[in-house]
């Protein structure tokens, strides 16, 4: 029972056609794929992310050396054919560290977004469905979390919990919860306004079923867009956390902590301050483009711009 997606793709809504669910879904997907190809942004974004993900997964194959082991005879070498991005203050190959660092950055981003979604969406659904006191209180709570600048709150939480990747994930995930809650709630409210939900209720469908069959599928699209944008923020926040010593601990090659370690050597070895930053920017860029592109696809009003 696609509503928003369908409206943009297929003008003939198949409301009530339970039997045609499967085919409708397939058609929907095909159309999305077509739209996808039309949005250059989405394609570029997705390509970047996929490449980075592959690099992250295949890191040990790409760079066979343990990224944490010092090579004391080789410190602070400038970029060359043997060390594409140069070596750091302990002689380690920067390229290899960045490749392994992709695991950390992407991993933290993914898990943090997962935390935000897993907690945020149900909160939003509840707030949207039970609009009274429960919803009001929940949304005020979400407001108050969102009132904090994201990086600031993440830093405050992470500094309380202590350094470590787990704590960074928790902090970043927590900060992202209100965004998803608000989104989910918005979807619920919007869909509640539509007749067919009342129609479905009239036909005896229970709350859970309504949530599952009508609300969730429609809400999925903005959720995915939000996930992409959220991932971009998560990567930047993780870098910021590592830069101030929260997050990844040595010798883990988080891009943010590589920047932190490289900054004192800025005049001696500027490459230490360049490449990790490029990596962060690239990953963030990819997610932003992906999010933008997906938004273009899913929201008809934005198209044609």
């Amino acid at each position: 029972m696609a509503f928003s997606i369908h409206a943009s793709i297929d003008p003939a809504p198949t409301i009530g056609a339970h039997a045609n669910d499967e085919r409708a879904r397939f058609n929907r997907l095909r159309k999305i794929a077509r739209q996808f190809r039309r949005s250059k942004q989405a394609v570029i974004g997705l390509t970047i992310i996929v490449i980075l993900a592959i690099v992250a997964v295949a890191a040990p194959l790409i760079s066979r050396v343990d990224p944490g082991v010092p090579v004391l005879g080789n410190v602070l070498q400038s970029p060359s054919w043997s060390a594409l991005f140069g070596t750091d203050e302990l002689g380690r190959d920067v390229f290899g560290r960045i490749v392994h660092g992709a695991r950390i950055s992407l991993g933290v981003a993914a898990l943090a977004v997962a935390i935000s979604t897993v907690f945020g969406v149900p909160i939003g659904l509840i707030a949207g469905y039970w609009e009274g006191i429960v919803g009001s209180v929940l949304m005020r709570l979400m407001d108050s979390i969102q009132a904090f600048p994201a990086v600031l709150l993440a830093i405050a939480i992470a500094s309380t919990l202590g350094p470590g990747i787990m704590n960074a994930m928790i902090a970043i995930g927590f900060v992202g919860i209100p965004g998803f809650a608000r989104l989910a709630r918005g979807e619920v409210l919007r869909i509640k306004a539509v007749d067919y939900v009342s129609a479905a209720r009239a036909s005896g469908a229970g709350n859970a079923r309504i949530l599952r069959q009508h609300i969730l599928p429609n809400g999925l699209a903005p959720l995915i867009v939000a996930a992409a944008t959220s991932a971009a923020g998560a990567i930047l926040t993780e870098a910021a956390l590592s830069f101030v010593g929260l997050g990844a601990t040595p010798p883990q090659p988080s891009w943010g902590s590589m920047l932190q370690a490289g900054y004192p050597f800025i005049t001696l070895a500027p490459w230490l301050s360049i490449f990790p930053g490029l990596a962060i920017s690239l990953a963030t860029f990819g997610f932003i483009f992906l999010g933008d592109g997906l938004r273009d696809i899913f929201d008809p009003r934005m198209r044609g711009r």
Binding site: P149, L236, L259, D292
Partner: protein, 314 residues
Amino acid sequence: MLRFIARRLIETIPVLIFMSMLVFSLIFFLPGDPVMGVLGPGMEIDDAAVAKMRDDLHLNDPIPVQYVAWAGKMLQGDFGRSVSSHQPVAHSIFERLPVSAYLAVYAIVVMLVIAVPLGVLAAVKRGTKWDLIASGISVLGLAVPGFWLAILMVLLLGVKVSWFPTSGYVSPFDNPFQSLRHLFLPAVALGAAGAGSLTRQLRSSMLEVLNEDYVRTARAKGLRGWTVLSRHALRNALIPSVTVLGLSLGNLLGGSLIIESIFLVPGVGSLLVNAIFTRDFPVVQAGTLMIAIMVVFINLGVDVLYGILDPRIN
């Protein structure tokens, strides 16, 4: 209008209360005894003193009582004492707040100077390569971490070429020119991300406005392009951008943390970063809350401004 402001103010109160509860609850997530979070471990304290401290801090009382005691103190301006310097936290924070605010304003000016021309350009030349360039730059601003931009600027502009000092702060009251020079690099680093999102917002609201009927009507009436642009389109496009500006401010103040410490700007941000390194929990707590409250009130102001500007609400 006054009712509008009053209503928004009242709406803010529960948010502020929840925010304070959130910050207050941090103390329970400290690994180790909360007393040490306030006293700072590393001091030789005997058990009697610890017990007394726990009592003073109401740590043995039920949590709501603790919160009320803490909130009461905060409202009276007692933010506790810094673990490292033993000075009242409130004093340090209020001393540094104006510096952070000054940097923030400077960053906003930078943001506007970058975003307005870029956003307008992108909207007016939609679809052309100018649009792509402008949009590309704005995404770059969003994707590039502010502190990395700061590092790059230090490298290129501070070290290789010594155009701008790479740190320090001169009060605008002492020497306006030096003051602006010293804060140029941090302001740009801070403003870049905001410039990115503002450009995007401006572009899309400009596009919306340019398509609106009344603009077409104005065009039809023969008003020249630029007049239409500046008088009608821009002014109306700026309205939703004001909201984005307000939102950006939040991120700005958050991003200021690292940038202030890289450039040695004596604001609240660098205070917080130092406090993180020294495990100065009272400063972290109070600083976070203060910055966030500042953001809330600025957003409130933005809302009010929006209400004033937007004819639809009026």
